[in-house]
Point group: C2
Chain length 213, copies 2
DNA sequence: CCGCATGCTGAACAGATGTTTAGCATGCTG
DNA sequence: CAGCATGCTAAACATCTGTTCAGCATGCGG
């Protein structure tokens, strides 16, 4: 009775959003199937039944998280397409959203798949513009390059745990850690990695051998 | 003595290994926690109890899979360090092993983490050699570059599902699909992506702004 | 032949999980 | 005030989970 009033006044957010945020954090950190409805409820400071009361089922909660995250990513500065727009917004989003998105791509939810496709599409156009404007090198396979590029932007997101371990940043905040690896990535994008065509030729040799048998 | 060894290897084909292979496929395809012991047993054509009889627990099974996969990846042509060695072996390994490895890196198992660290270490040395030999560009942050490079090699592995959807390969076998995206990656590594330093400078601007506040 | 290890099974168990149900308190509306 | 919707809960439920247990068949060594 009085405890209810107290809890309510303690939270300046509605119950629904509190639950969704708790789910977002836990899903992103642990993965959807490793998190129980009761754990989410406990983190949100409510009962497990209320979670289901609001979202119908755990699957409903997951879809709500998906929708929220996709909205966060898509709802960014849409006109700002001369930058990576969507992805940039994503990387600017909160850590919880970022982690959740990384998991979502791996869990293969339909919403995440659609988002991935859209990002690839936008990236391909963005790279095309760059090629026309002269600040992006042309490619032998623009579509594949765009797709690979997107997976590479996503990679530090899903392998963040390993990057953090391999690139100790002391007590620097997480953003600085991200900056270090992103800087290394941009360096590769700008200068290239291999100084000659040796590896490219080696690849062609493999392709030829495979094609012949 | 001999008979025991013989029988063991024979039973490896029939029993233990059949279970391990079934677990490997299911773990790789679905993720460890989404797969039940009973599902593994069903796929291997045995009872659930036998799975536990052989591996003690589900965790024991997972560790056996980890050990097997790590052995597969590490056991490649070790002397052949002038190539990407470990990673090359991994990419040559069977599809099930590859998928499992991708999951393992995400599930954060200690074995996978150690393997990741080793791969980064070997890659950094390999890139150093390349720089000395002149066929790799020097870097401002060799360690970060090696780490990012490894995550990029791993990315198509974990995002394979999305790549397949975005890069339809008709009825071509999976290896050809892999070849298409790897070719695009090597192209970036060889020619670079950005034709000028614009993005690199933009990054430095961001860093500066962040550092100032 | 006996004994016994080995590979294997069905049945059962304890715990966790998602979900449902019945109901309480509050606050708004007629 | 009565009535009703809302936000919320505890408890029970059914199912699924990993795991254990008692026992069956087979084959080998004594």
């Amino acid at each position: 009775m009085f405890s209810m009033l107290f809890m309510r006044s303690e939270s300046d957010v509605t119950g629904r959003a509190r639950i969704r945020n708790a789910a977002l954090e836990l899903f992103g950190a642990e993965g959807v199937n490793r998190v129980s409805v009761r754990a989410i409820a406990a983190r949100a400071g409510v009962s497990a039944a209320l979670v289901l009361h609001h979202f119908g089922s755990k699957e409903g909660l997951r879809k709500a998280c998906d929708a929220y995250v996709v909205e966060q990513v898509r709802g960014g500065p849409e006109a700002d397409l001369d930058d990576v727009s969507g992805l940039a917004a994503m990387l600017e989003a909160g850590s919880a959203v970022r982690l959740y998105l990384g998991r979502a791509f791996l869990d293969g939810t339909p919403e995440a798949a659609a988002l991935f496709d859209d990002i690839v599409e936008a990236t391909e156009r963005w790279l095309e513009d760059g090629v026309r404007a002269g600040w992006v090198h042309p490619s032998d396979d623009p579509r594949a390059r765009a797709a690979v590029y997107v997976t590479w932007l996503l990679a530090p997101l899903t392998f963040g745990e390993h990057l953090a371990r391999v690139l100790p940043a002391g007590d620097l905040p997480e953003t600085d850690r991200t900056l270090r690896s992103s800087r290394a990535g941009i360096e590769i994008f700008t200068r290239g990695l291999f100084a000659d065509d040796r590896v490219l030729h080696a690849w062609d040799a493999v392709r030829k051998e495979r094609g012949s048998r």
